[in-house]
């Protein structure tokens, strides 16, 4: 039985379980499963046992630091970790060993998490899935050979399979919410500025967000509380008073807008995904919220501006490597970055101008609404080898609009499709309403019952 973070925290606090036992369980699961799932770039066994022992000592003397103390955890391998290689899943950084922890890595360590290792990502959070990198792509625990989505692929696979109870992700166009959707877990892209990006390898500075991924929205709320906070080293980091962290909310009087055209016309989703969204509407409505339809600019408009901004900024980040050592990138990332290199300054500025228009139109259309609802992904996970190289420019995704806006957006599992793989919905809030979004996710998960089902991993044991 794999506990949630909240359950494990209660048991640790009650001295019913030791952090060392939890870490050993986690290591044993990693040893059994990761040769098939490839969620880890590096397992930090010694560090994990040392962290767990320290947490156990605090447990024994009644000095636990909070609900994350002693929790098995992993960092996406673009989060810099002192003295532990941080590779971005790329040959470019195979030997990169940071001298210090990133801001959120430090905050989570201070909260007591037990570092189990560094987790797979699409190369530099943009390439992938790729088979020409120093490490294989992570696989979906719900189906061997199936795509996790990306780029926080290893975190999603490790959480879904219970190898860790939580982990970090980053989200520039959907890299937390996409993998959370395909792997049947929860993941939140927080409000832009809530979590520092200092010490996280950048992809696109005006769209990058750091955030947590876990089995439940409640667990994401616990992790986000530890990750959030002002950091002068990130120029986008906000210095704001602590928000209301409660997940118990009154839903009567709340207005939820369903962005039906996103998932019915702009990029039609699978029947199972649609059923999950409708079930979520019924749950929120049953709790007392008023649910209405809302119309935003088309997903295509958001996607065009978002893709251009993301790709141009990403090329700027990697320009020197693209000129000097392009063959150290995998083919997928080399291609995507190359397209970014063909975007002119005028193109980029037009995209930022359009972004401003889209933000204004969205704010007008959603005035008076507390939450929005749409899909997080079009359907169930495809097989890895069926993902087209240029998938990212073929159809708009459901996630990039909220990177453009900077609004908090959460993926919650809403059931399973024809292949028995997870499907999901996306719940979006207004800026700084992250915990309202998480409260909605928590309420939906309690009502829909899908958190009771874990992937059956027996078929993946053989490696």
């Amino acid at each position: 039985m794999i506990p949630t973070i909240a359950e494990a925290a209660r048991r640790i606090a009650a001295k019913e379980v030791s952090p060392v036992e939890l870490a050993r369980d986690s290591l044993s699961r990693i040893a059994r499963l990761d040769s098939s799932l490839h969620a880890f770039i590096r397992v930090t066994e010694e560090r994990a046992l040392a962290d767990a022992k320290a947490a156990e000592e605090r447990q024994m003397r009644g000095a636990l630091r909070g609900p994350l103390d002693g929790i098995p955890f992993g960092h996406k391998d673009i989060y810099e970790t002192a003295e532990i290689p941080t590779t971005a899943h790329s040959a470019q950084l195979r030997d990169h060993v940071p001298r210090r922890d990133g801001f959120t890595v430090r905050k989570l360590a201070e909260a007591g998490v037990v570092l189990m290792g560094k987790l797979a990502t699409h190369e530099f959070a943009f390439g992938g899935p790729s088979r020409d990198l120093p490490w294989p792509p992570a696989e979906n625990p719900w189906g061997a050979g199936h795509f996790t989505s990306g780029s926080s692929s290893g975190t999603a696979a490790a959480v879904a399979s219970g190898m860790v109870l939580g982990g970090t992700g980053s989200d520039t166009g959907g890299s937390i919410r996409g993998p959370a959707a395909l792997c049947g877990i929860a993941g939140i892209k927080p409000t832009y500025g809530l979590c520092s990006r200092a010490g996280i390898l950048p992809l696109a500075q005006t769209l990058d967000h750091a955030g947590p991924m876990a089995w439940t929205s409640e667990d994401c709320a616990l992790l986000l509380a530890a990750m959030a906070g002002h950091d002068p080293e990130d120029p986008a980091s906000a210095d704001r008073p602590a928000p209301d962290l409660s997940l118990s909310r009154e839903w009567r009087g709340r207005r939820v807008g369903v962005i039906r055209h996103f998932h019915e016309q702009d990029n039609p989703v699978s029947p199972a995904t649609l059923r999950g969204i409708e079930e979520t509407v019924a749950i929120l409505s049953g709790l007392g919220a008023t649910v209405e339809q809302v119309t935003l600019p088309s997903l295509h408009e958001f996607y065009a501006a978002g893709w251009v901004i993301l790709s141009a900024e990403a090329f700027a980040v990697h320009e020197q490597r693209m000129r000097e050592t392009p063959m150290l990138f995998g083919e997928n990332l080399r291609g995507r970055l190359s397209l970014g290199g063909l975007i002119s300054a005028a193109d980029y500025i037009q995209a930022q101008r359009r972004r401003r228009t889209l933000i204004r139109r969205t704010m007008e259309a959603t005035a008076g609404f507390d939450l929005l609802l749409t899909a997080a992904a079009p359907g169930e996970a495809p097989r890895i080898d069926d993902v087209p190289k240029w998938a990212s420019v073929e159809k708009p995704n459901f996630t990039v609009p909220f990177n453009m806006l900077g609004w908090p957006a959460l993926t919650v599992c809403t059931g399973f499709g024809d292949k028995n793989l997870p499907v999901a919905a996306q719940i979006i809030g207004k800026p700084w309403q992250d915990w309202l979004v998480l409260a909605a996710g928590h309420a939906v998960e309690r009502e829909n019952g899908h958190r009771a089902k874990r992937p059956t991993l027996g078929e993946m044991k053989s490696g």
Binding site: P326, L339, G341
Partner: protein, 68 residues
Amino acid sequence: MLRSMPDPIPPAEFAALLARAGIALPEAEVEDLRRAHPRLLAMLAMLREPPPAAEEEPAFTFAAGDEA
């Protein structure tokens, strides 16, 4: 919607674009990229249609005059 996709630009023109960006790729990847490039062109066209209204312009202010 992404409207009609433009045709790929001729190989010589595409090679010039890549050279200007300082990008050198294996030949097969150049051709693959050239065939994907119209999807980018379609997105770029969307950004300019309709042209942004004047009121959407960010306010650029320059205060150096105060010191002059």
